[in-house]
Amino acid sequence: MELSPLWISLKIALASTLFTFLFGLLAAWGVTYLRRGKHLVDGLLSIPLVLPPTVVGFLLLIAFGQHSAFGRFLNTVGIRLIFTWQGAVVAAAVISFPVMYRGARGAMEQVDENLIFAARTLGMREFTILRRVVLPAARPGIAAATVLSFARALGEFGATLMVAGNLPGKTQTMSIAVYTAMQGGDRALAFRWVLIIVCFSLTILVLMNVLTDRGYRRKSR
């Protein structure tokens, strides 16, 4: 059995989670400080969650293609995103970004605001407050959001297929491998990939429950 889809999936999901983690946290932090237009900005940041992945893939294709200024710019600096695994990372990151952003924001908003007020009256700067007060207090929720965002990236299919295609050994991920095997009439292979994905997903969910549970216990100690 050719295992490359497993490694490609992991590579893409890990790289994508790195992006969503950083930008998701920053976005979550930034939005809590917005005075105006909070709902609109939140909507824009969350929209990949509700759009069909094919629509996201279509928009990415347009953005990265030769017909857009951005696409030509990428081309001149030597970044190729169409039909590459890097392109799949971008697709997975865009799709899983709202999961991270919304989870992190929820966790940050749960933090007792008096802690933030206290930190301010003590003379801490806003970024110090984020680093030393808000993030540690929101850690269980942020960890859970990260795991979910990883899982979402791992299962990405539609946008990835449109942007990165289905190149065996290059951009064929596990979820695309299931589809390809079925198309090719190889039910046994499809079944094997399904089994692997189910085991993987279950492990991730259990891990997430352990993370949130531990955070809860620490608080109620």
Binding site: D112, L115, F117, A118, M124, P136
Partner: protein
């Protein structure tokens, strides 16, 4: 150092109009919950932003809506003790106290002073109520504030701890050179901890007085209620120059008192009624017969609720309260519990009150 506050803020239907100043010393803002006490403190600390007004501390302007000054909280040097202490749960006691302190040696000193060295490595969740409060106090002092704000600091403690922590806070406030503002709904706490007391009622600071004056001679109905005055009635001037307490249904003779136009109410403390043996008091003023409604035994006294005999009003304002010491109770118990008795009201004890402060 002088703290001057004159701010307005609207939150939905609620309209906060806080205006007071304190020249060093300890000020207590006393008010029922939801009267805007905490909001006032938050505006001073820079946590909430007033709609209009001005806050100055010494020669620094903390907030001025006209000059468009709104100093961020971290630059105000305002120490704020939160109701739930707001200790950082992910930091040890030492971490909490030193995290924002520029002068670490001073922070360590404070830790020692507050007997926290032994628990320095513990997390807030592992601390007792007293230790939590001491940690919060040390953390606040470590940032070297110029004014101290205390937001109902004892509400999370039991009676015994409260008394002990009051001593500690008094020590700190007496040592502290700047002004302090305590917010509380407990009149006794305000009296014990502050030199001056301001009453807040429905978003407005109605009066700031010396604490003794405040309890002896409250000026408004709200202040009288907050000092624990149980009997308050509206009054009406009668043709013969006497007054009629409309809620109580009792005629009052206030010959020796000067009653200004502004006076709309009178208050009478429940301890000051005296029992009259005889029911034959025709011609005497300020003596009236009473109908018993209820007797409640308290720890050291008996609370007698009654109305004027002929007052048929079912309103709770018509109900008067007389508090008798247990010793005195035994002598009068028989007559009172029979349902009808006579009491004397001493006009020199009457508090003349305004409905609202005219200022």
């Amino acid at each position: 150092m002088k703290l001057t506050v004159d701010i307005e803020k609207r939150i939905g239907d609620f309209h906060l109009r806080s205006s007071f100043s304190t020249e060093g010393g300890r000020l207590a803002l006393l008010g029922a919950s939801g009267c805007g006490k905490t909001m006032t403190l938050k505006c001073i600390a820079g946590i909430e932003r007033p709609d209009r007004g001005r806050i100055t501390l010494g020669d620094r302007v903390l907030f001025d809506s006209e000059q468009r000054v709104n100093l961020p909280a971290r630059k105000r040097q305002v120490g704020y003790l939160f109701q739930n202490y707001a200790l950082f749960p992910n930091m040890t006691v030492r971490g909490n106290i030193t995290c924002a302190a520029e002068d670490r040696a001073y922070a360590e000193q404070l830790m020692e002073r507050f007997c926290l060295t032994e628990v320095a490595g513990q997390y807030p969740a592992e601390l007792s109520g007293g230790q939590s409060q001491r940690t919060a106090l040390a953390r606040m002092l470590a940032s070297k504030p110029e004014v101290i704000l205390l937001d109902e600091p004892f509400s999370a403690l039991d009676n015994y701890m409260r008394t002990r922590m009051e001593h500690e806070i008094l020590d700190i406030l007496e040592e502290f050179s700047g002004p302090s503002v305590l917010v509380t709904h407990d009149r006794n706490e305000a009296y014990r901890l502050a030199d001056r007391i301001g009453v807040m009622d429905a978003g407005t600071v109605v009066e700031v007085q010396d604490r003794q004056d405040f309890f002896d001679a409250p000026q408004t109905v709200a202040a009288a209620r907050l000092t624990g005055c149980k009997n308050i009635s509206a009054i009406r001037r009668q043709a013969d120059g006497s007054y009629f307490a409309t809620d109580w249904g009792i005629s009052l003779s206030l010959e020796e008192k000067e009653v200004s136009e502004e006076i709309t109410h009178v208050g009478y403390r429940a301890h000051y009624f005296t029992f009259e043996e005889t029911a034959d008091f025709r011609g005497e003023v300020n003596v009236f017969s009473c109908r018993l409604r209820r007797v409640i035994e308290d720890t050291f006294s008996v609370v007698v609720c009654f109305t004027q005999e002929k007052n048929a009003s079912e309103s709770t304002d018509a109900l008067l309260t007389w508090i008798v010491g247990k010793d005195a109770w035994d002598a009068v118990r028989g007559q009172v519990e029979a349902g009808s008795f006579t009491l004397r009201l001493h006009p020199d004890r009457l508090m003349l009150l305004k409905e609202k402060n005219s200022k």
